[in-house]
Structures are given as C-alpha cells and as structure tokens.
C-alpha cells in the first residue's frame, strides 16, 4: 500500500519533470511540434530519418565592401576612415611588399637563413590590424608582419629579428619572421602551429574578469586550424564567453596542401559557427571589409563578452617560404588568375585613386621612398653584431638554477679555452 508521503513524493517528481520543459535550455521553440527534453539541446522530434549535411544547407556568404575594381558597392557600408589613415594604410602595404621582396633577395644571397613573404595577404593584415584597439593583445602565426608593422614595429625591428642581430628583441632565439614586442602588444610568434590560439582565449578571459575592456586577437592559417589546439580554443572561447577575435587567414594552401586536402564542409567559417561563435567570412583582399569586420567584431566582443570569428580569404601569391617552390604543386592558371585579378594592393590603389588620394606620380615616388626605407634599415641591421652568446642560458627560468649555472660555467670555460675556434668577435659580448 502506498503511503501518502510517497504519493506526494511522486507528485513532486512529476511536477519537476514537467517544469523542466520551461527551463532555459529546455524551451520548446516551435508551437506545433513536440520539443526534445534534454540538457543542452534545443530540438524537436521528427519522424523522418534524415542525416544532415552541410551540402544541403546554404553556404556562407563572403562579405565585401568594394569590388575587384576598387568600387564601393554599397556606400552605406563604407567605413569612416580619414583620408590620412587610408593613405597610411596603403603606404604600409607598399612598404611591406618591398620589405618582403628585399628580404627574400637577402635570403637568396645567404644573408639571412629563411624568410616568408606575405605576398597577397598585405591588406588582410593591415586592414584587420587597423580594426583593433592598439592595446588589444595580439597573437600571430608568422605571416602577419603587416599586423605588427601597423602597430609601429619598424622595418629595422623586423630585419633585426630576421638577422638575429643584437637589436633583435628576442635575443636571437627564433627563426626569421617570428616577430613580437611588448611595446606593441604583440606576443612573439611560436613555430608550433596552432599553439597560440588557446593562449589568446586565456588572455581574453583574464581581460574579462579584470574588466579591462580589451579583447585579444589571434591570427592563424587554415592549415593550422586543423590542429587540436584550434578546436579546443574555439570551444573554450564559446563556452567560457571570452572576448577574443579569431582571424583565420585562408590563403588556399598549407605549404603544398590545398584546402581540399585540409577540410571538407563549408570552410572554417561553418566550423566556427558550429561552436557557437558569431562568424563572418570576409574577402581578405578587400581592405575596407577587413577593417570594418574586425572593428565591428572587436566592439561587440568587448561589449558582449563573447568571441567572434573572421574567415578571411586571401590567396597566397608567393611561395610558402624561401624553402619552397610552389610551381611544383600550384596550378599555373590559378596562380595567374590571382596575380591578375586578385592582387589586393592594386585594388586598394584603385579605390584611393577614385577618391583622388593617390595617382601614378605618388605611386612612383612612394615606391622609391619605400625601397629606400627598407634598404636603409637593412644596411643598419647588417652592421650589427650578433647577440651575446650567454643568452643561450638566460631566461630559461626567471633566475638561473644552480645546475644550469654549472652547465653555463662549464660551457664558458670551454669557449674561453678554445676562443680561437669560435667567432666571438662577431658577437656583442661574451
């Protein structure tokens, strides 16, 4: 026989089950259909057996402001950038391009060990960089010289890093193009692909709990976005509501691997969206679109404390690096198309010319100026000594532990006893 108390118990339990339907996350979102009651799922029942595919859904659009001829299509979307800023942006792209050309040459001459150009991605970098607040901490992969350059890290600073000379802020410890600077709120790049992505999420979380009103930003290639770190980072950012901007540079290749061998589905944008991140796909060759999307994402991220994702499309016009020959794997017609149609710099120039901010004469004279700036910086960097060899042992820990001190002393002793065999004169000190 059931006791009254147990009857009451059952009634309460039933009531709880019923009220669940009205709890957040369990809400019935269609009036006519039966809602699924399950934690974290908003769905309703169907009696049709359908396996869902991205192919059946609409592919994400690509946001642009100007067309290939540099014409703004919808005037209301044109960002409010001063003429001065627009010209500054263009000049940055031009200097960047010259720097890449000259550094590439220097590598061929054996003066630096390695180089990676940004050819084709200059406006993606400059445009997005301009959309951030200067104190937003940024992380890069390696092909982001234009981003840190926009923040004031000079051509000389970059060449010095590539030379690993005595002016290299990173003390000669990284391969070329791994820039970084505290002053410019840019975390030095790591060669390990994808590792920086969750770091940016952690920084964003710290900014959030400290009410800093800053966001963080992280750049990475479409190849790196296949790393586990990327997926963990997207998920953490969405779940922990972190004000971070993910900028995926989809340039069509990861070294030789084309995107068709990298992912299926609708690119990176569709994936990001599925993590619950507000996402936009942008024409990365349109500097106005890159600027506008980054700026908007940045404002919303800080205001709403949530992540934003930009998949930026910008074909890699150059080789992967100086160790690569892309003619081996790239389709010549494809390359030709992008060189003629897709080069983002002439497109930006057309926009400026239509506005009366630029012409053939300024183009010619500024090209000369840009080249000179790079060559002057190179000559200065080339003369610098190499860093103090003792840097091999410092900064491993905040203070050098005893056993490392012993190793350091043993090593110093060896070098001093064999000083004639080591090129110490090339170094700053010993």
């Amino acid at each position: 026989m059931l006791k009254v108390s147990s009857l009451l118990n059952i009634a309460t339990k039933l009531k709880n089950v019923c009220s669940i339907v009205n709890m957040a996350g369990y809400r019935q979102y269609s009036q006519n259909r039966e809602a699924v009651v399950f934690p974290g799922i908003q769905s309703h029942y169907t009696e049709e057996m359908v396996f869902s595919d991205i192919q059946n859904e609409e592919k994400m659009d690509t946001f642009r402001i100007m067309n290939l001829k540099g014409k703004v299509i919808n005037k209301t979307m044109e960002p409010d950038l001063s003429n001065e800023t627009l010209v500054k942006m263009y000049k940055h792209c031009i200097i960047h391009k010259h720097m890449d050309k000259i550094m590439h040459e220097l590598q061929r001459q054996g003066r630096i060990s390695f180089y990676m150009t940004s050819r084709g991605e200059e406006v993606l970098q400059t445009g997005s960089a301009a959309g951030f607040h200067p104190e937003d901490l940024l992380f890069g992969q390696y092909r982001e010289a234009g981003v840190i350059f926009w923040r004031g890290f000079s051509v000389y600073d970059m060449i010095s890093q590539c030379y690993s000379n005595n002016s290299d802020l990173l003390k000669g410890r990284n391969m070329p193009v791994h820039y970084g600077s505290k002053e410019h709120h840019f975390v030095p790049m790591s060669s390990c692909l994808g590792t920086q992505i969750p770091h940016a999420v952690g920084v964003a979380y710290a900014n959030k709990i400290k009410n800093k009103n800053l966001c963080s930003g992280v750049y990475f290639g479409e190849g790196a976005s296949s790393e586990g770190d990327a997926h963990a980072a997207f998920n953490f950012a969405a779940v922990l509501k972190c004000p971070v901007i993910f900028i995926c540079r989809n340039n069509g290749y990861a070294i030789s691997t084309p995107t068709k061998d990298q992912y299926s589905g609708d690119g990176l944008a569709a994936r990001a969206k599925s993590y619950g991140i507000s996402t936009i796909r942008v024409d990365g060759n349109d500097i106005l679109a890159m600027y506008a999307a980054t700026k908007q994402a940045r404002e919303l991220a800080v205001k709403k404390n949530k992540p934003y994702f930009i998949e930026a499309l910008a074909y890699r016009l150059g080789d992967h690096s100086t160790s690569d020959d892309s003619t081996v794997y790239k389709n010549a017609e494809e390359q030709e198309y992008w060189l003629v149609q897709g080069d983002p710099i002439p497109r930006f120039r057309k926009y400026l010319q239509d506005k009366g901010l630029w012409d053939d004469k300024t183009e010619e004279s500024f090209n000369k100026e840009a080249k000179k700036e790079v060559l002057t910086a190179f000559k200065k960097a080339d003369k610098q000594l190499k860093p103090n060899p003792n840097f091999m042992f410092t900064d491993v820990y905040k203070e050098m532990p005893e056993r490392l001190q012993n190793q350091h002393q043993d090593w110093r002793k060896h070098i001093l006893e064999n000083a004639d065999k080591y090129p110490l004169a090339n170094h700053d000190q010993f």
Binding site: P198, V201, V203, I209, P401
Partner: protein, 285 residues
C-alpha cells in the same frame, strides 16, 4: 588535515590573496573528482573557480594565456595519465615562453596540478607517474609532495613562483594520513630536498609515495641488517637539489633511489649519473 584538504586550503589561500587567481579544469566547479576544490566556487564565484570543456590541451593552452595576461591560473588535469594531450602546450609553450620571448612575455604564474601514482585499482591509465617526461624540459618546475603539510606549502610556493610549475599529487595519499597543517598562508622552498632521517651507511632518496615506503625500509634495514640509513625526500624533481644528495652520499658512500615510475629513463637514472659526476668533479666533501 589530510592531503586533499591541505590542497583545498592552499587553493583557498591563493584565491584569497590574489584576486586574479583562477582555479579550473574538468569537474572543478562542483569540487573535483578528488574533492580538492570543494566549496571554492561558492566562496569565490564561478568566474574564478570553474569547469572547462573536456580538453587537456585546451586547459593548458588557455591557462598559459591567462598567465601571459598577468592573471594567476591554477589548472587541474584530472589525472596525470591524461596530461599527455597537453604535452605540447606544456613542453613547447609553457616551458619555453619566457625564453623564446626574450623575456618580454612569460607565463610564470602558471601552475598545473595533477593527481598521479598508483592507488591499487586504477590499472594502467589511472596509475602513472610521468614526472620524468617533464624533468627533461628546461623551463619547468616539477614538484611532488609526500604529505599534507608539504603539499600546502609546496603548492603555495608553485603558485607564487615566477616560473611555470607542475604539481603532481600522489592520489593514494589524499586520504591516507592526517598532519597538522596551518590554516593560514605559508610556503616551503622549492628545489630543496629534505633530510628526514639522518644516517651513516647509505642514502635513500625518494619522493611522494615512495618516501613512505622508504621510511619502512629505514626501519627494516636497521632491525634486520643493522644498516643505518639516511632518508631524503627530493620534493622538487626539477630543478632538483643536487647538493643535499651529493653531500649525503659523500658521507654515506652509497645511494639508493626509489621511484614509482618505469626504470628506463626514469628520474632515478638522472640522479645516479649526476651524483657520480658531482662526487668526482665538484667538491662536496
């Protein structure tokens, strides 16, 4: 307190003294599967004590970011056996962050806690002692306590240390012993071994659970063999205290090292080799 309570107490003190300290990991919000974070979310809020998605590499990478931004992350890996998805973040990023950044940026405020070692029913994936993998990585500190008092003091030292630290907690000890542990804040020095028993015939070195095994050995050796043992708890695996052990071995002339991890490439091999070199080439006599 027993050991898991002393861990909670260390975390409590850290959250109290440092408003940017955050404690997080899988199931941390409700108190953790080993109950080390019980009550902390209620006390400090869900912004500072929280669950993360189930991804060790995500936890480590996210934690590094917090540290880079100047906050104090105390991340939990649910089991040391599952720290390997985070191996790259720990070895290539946390350990090298300061070095590769030319000291412009660092993640020294990072502490990672992970329960380690065998309990008896954990089989092959809930029993490992992976300290040697991390001991091969300059830039990290690796610490293993033997009991509640040391656990709180050493964990506090890890949290305050300006270098990334991994703190392995022998989970068999969580509930095994009770010690007097101050409720207030205190820390014990890292990279300092502790001589627990003085002796003259042989030096025994261990850490974590093995210290308790070796205590029995000290007794048995005395009773059965009339051998007088000196017992040392290494406490910090990296950077380790060579001097204390070398001095002891210089006195006893013999060294026995016990660890719970596999023999080949174990940290015992490092100690054995280094102590021989150091007794020959450096003056510890």
């Amino acid at each position: 307190m027993n050991l898991f309570e002393s861990i909670t107490s260390a975390l409590d003190c850290a959250l109290k003294r440092d408003p940017s300290a955050c404690v997080f990991g899988e199931d941390v919000g409700f108190g953790g599967v080993f109950r080390c974070t019980v009550g902390l979310q209620e006390k400090y809020g869900a912004d500072r004590v929280f669950n993360t998605p189930l991804s060790e590499q995500g936890i480590a990478g996210f934690a590094i970011g917090l540290a880079v931004a100047g906050a104090t992350p105390i991340a939990e890996m649910q089991f040391a056996d599952y720290i390997f998805p985070a191996f790259d973040q720990i070895v290539n990023e946390a350990a090298k962050f300061r070095y590769r950044s030319g000291n412009l940026f660092d993640c020294g405020k990072l502490t990672i806690r992970a329960p380690c070692g065998a309990v008896g029913h954990g089989a092959l994936y809930h029993s490992q002692s992976p300290e040697a993998y991390f001991a091969h990585t300059p830039g990290l500190k690796v610490v293993i306590p033997r009991g509640p008092f040391n656990a709180k003091g050493l964990l506090t030292a890890c949290i305050n240390d300006p270098n990334p630290c991994i703190f392995f907690e022998p989970k068999i000890l969580y509930r095994s012993a009770i010690e007097e542990v101050p409720v207030g804040d205190y820390s014990l020095p890292l990279s300092q071994a502790e001589v627990l028993v003085e002796g003259s015939d042989i030096t025994l070195v261990g850490w974590g659970t093995q210290v308790h095994v070796l205590r029995e050995v000290v007794k048995l050796a005395q009773e059965k063999l009339k051998v007088n043992c000196e017992l040392i708890d290494l406490r910090t695996i990296l950077p380790w205290d060579e001097e204390t052990i070398a001095k002891s071995v210089a006195k006893t002339g013999r060294l026995l090292i016990a660890h719970e991890a596999p023999l080949t490439g174990g940290f015992g091999a490092e100690i054995a080799a280094s102590i021989q070199v150091s007794l020959i080439t450096r003056a510890y006599y």
